[in-house]
């Protein structure tokens, strides 16, 4: 489970998060992303999460988001990607 201090899932953090996710995926457990500290998410971030979700599906795993704030949910909903991420 990733509880690390992710504050934003955005263009500025995307590459760092990508390698972090890849590492975390090795564990084979259910992928839990704690969104408690996330204050910013943009299209780059959403696309990254979508790619993550796809990769997990491939391995018959899934992603679970916890502590998603209303503001973040709203951001994701604007682009209607909430459904694909299992947040809809």
């Amino acid at each position: 489970m990733i509880t690390e201090q992710i504050k934003e899932i955005s263009i500025y953090e995307a590459e760092k998060l990508q390698s972090m996710f890849l590492k975390e995926m090795q564990s084979g457990e259910t992928f839990i992303l704690d969104m408690r500290l996330v204050e910013k998410i943009d299209m780059v971030g959403i696309q990254l999460l979508l790619s993550l979700s796809k990769s997990l599906e491939e391995k018959e795993q899934r992603i679970e988001f916890i502590n998603v704030s209303d503001a973040m949910l709203h951001e994701i909903k604007i682009s209607h990607c909430d459904v694909a991420l299992g947040l809809g």
Partner: protein, 699 residues
Amino acid sequence: MEEEVEIFLEDCEDQLGLMEGALVSIQDSGVDADSIGTIFRAMHTIKGSAGMFGYDNIVKFAHAGENLLDAAREGLIEVNEEMVDLFLQCKDYLEHLIEVEIREEEMESSQKSLGENLVKALISYMPGEKPLEKSEDLGQIKEPSMSEEEILRWHISIRFHKDFFTTGMSIHSIFNFLNKIGKVIINQPILYHIPLLEALNPLHPYIGFEILFEADLPYEEIEEVFEFIIDDVDLMIFEHTDEESLSQLIASRKEDLLSQTLLDAQFYTEIETVDVSEEKTEEIKKSLPEVNKPEELEILENEKTESKTVTKSTGAPKVSSSLRVDATKIDLLINYMSEIVIANSKIITLSEELDNSELDEASSRMRELLEVVREGIMDIRMVQVGDSFAKFRRIVNDTAKKIGKNVEFIITGGETELDKTVVERISDPLVHMLRNSIDHGIEEPSDRIKAGKSSKGRVDLRAYTDSGTIVIEIEDDGKGLDKNRILAKAIENGLISSTATLSDAEIYKLIFEAGLSTAEKVSDISGRGVGMDVVRRNIEDLRGSIDITSALGKGSKITIRLPLTLASIDGFLVQVGHTKYIIPLESIQECIELTQEELEGMKGNEFINLRGDMLPLMDVRVVLNEEKSESARKNIVIVRFGEKIVGLLVDELLGEHQTVIKPLGDAFVNVTGISGGSILGSGEVALIFDIARLIEYKI
């Protein structure tokens, strides 16, 4: 400031300019549908761009204005004088609001309430509306009014170019904005291009969107939403019922799953698969980024020709450009161009030395072509002066109103083209001179009637081209300049000695000296005696000249002559001592040889007898401290600036030279008579004469 914000600001400035121009034209010649349309479009565009950037306060305010303008456009309400005043106030407020928003500052509370009151006032004019009592309603944006049967549904399909994310533009704000101007029924993200995490380049966009959008808006207005990202996306917008476009979309996207996705997302209940051959797909793909382009161009052309006639009569602004180019890019091109011209003149010199006729021919052809390209590039910088002139209309009206004078302001030649930099730099001087004309030139209405004139004064602003220069005239039918008063004042202020004998033109020109104002009462419009000297300096800095003629009781005319462009001139190359100089061709009258006879005839005086007239001579070698040259022959280049004629004594005439002007450097700012340098084919630097200053220096 970020580039996008800068573009936004420029765009707003353009739109506000158009708005103002149209409003003032209404003030002058009454309400017409074109002007209302212009104001509406400007308001609408500002709202649209502001929405893109998430400047909600601007959107709210512009929306209120747009609603009323829409009603006016539809003929639901009558536009009266009060409303025009209100719109002018709104324009000013909007200008301020945009500034504040861009700087991300808080609006001061007095301004805030002004804004609220303006919105209230706007709403109170709405058909069937009573003045609102609560301002809280103002914030809410009403959906654009649409009647049930007319609601249009649009299919919008977006894919992003590789660099989209790094441009910094946000697709979120587009979605938000779409929701503001209409209703997004379905927004289906297209996900099948998103790779697995290992293969993902997080900064590349793989996602796409298919949107079903409901709005009672024409195609152009929906496309406008994407204006700021249009170069960075593949965009298709078509009516939901347009099956042909749908087939094109499906064919061009080359996404096997697209039609199924669209069906699954309930965009359509069925999709007829039209067989589109590979060839046709390519064709469609090619045409994709240019949807509606030819039509757009046509519209622009139409508006342009239409505006020419409008400009002539009322000075109303025209739609000026279809492409926004960073000025530095053009400067760069001009720079390279001058390098090429220089390199080519080297080739020409060499080919002459080699005496190879084929090479000669080729290099001459090259020179011709370069000239065409150079002119083409220069032409990009040229803008019509009308846009800039139209802004003056309001200043004139306001000034006249303020001091209780009645003035008719007539602009002619708005379509005359001039280098954009020059246009910007003459704007302030022109404003100053126009204010002067109204304040000092035009008499009080009662005085005018006494003098047997119509109570309404007339100020003309004219532009036209004349032999390679542009001429701008400001003429009024006011009381004219009083020679004796100017003279008395100039003597009193020590500008001239009391025994000086001056021609009329010289006396009038004194008004451009610092510290000379003959206005009896100093108003806050003008009349402090500073300004006209600054005006002259500004014009001269542009290598221009300024002259004034006047007739007491009848009016005055100020004539400004400016070069068409700052970047290049046709020059004439001469040698003095060891240095080569360039004289702007436009100022040369003729070249003559100084004969021994004439030389003797001078008897030490600094003038010769030229066909019966006295021609003052200036020995460039002496004036500029050049070393003595060996050349036995002396040549005189006769130059004219305004009314003044002087013969420049030089060693050798080297012929015409296409001169690209380069600044000499800050170290030389105080050198009089030289305005810049130019690099010759040999690599040598030639100095360019500033004839106006040189003559001034001589006299």
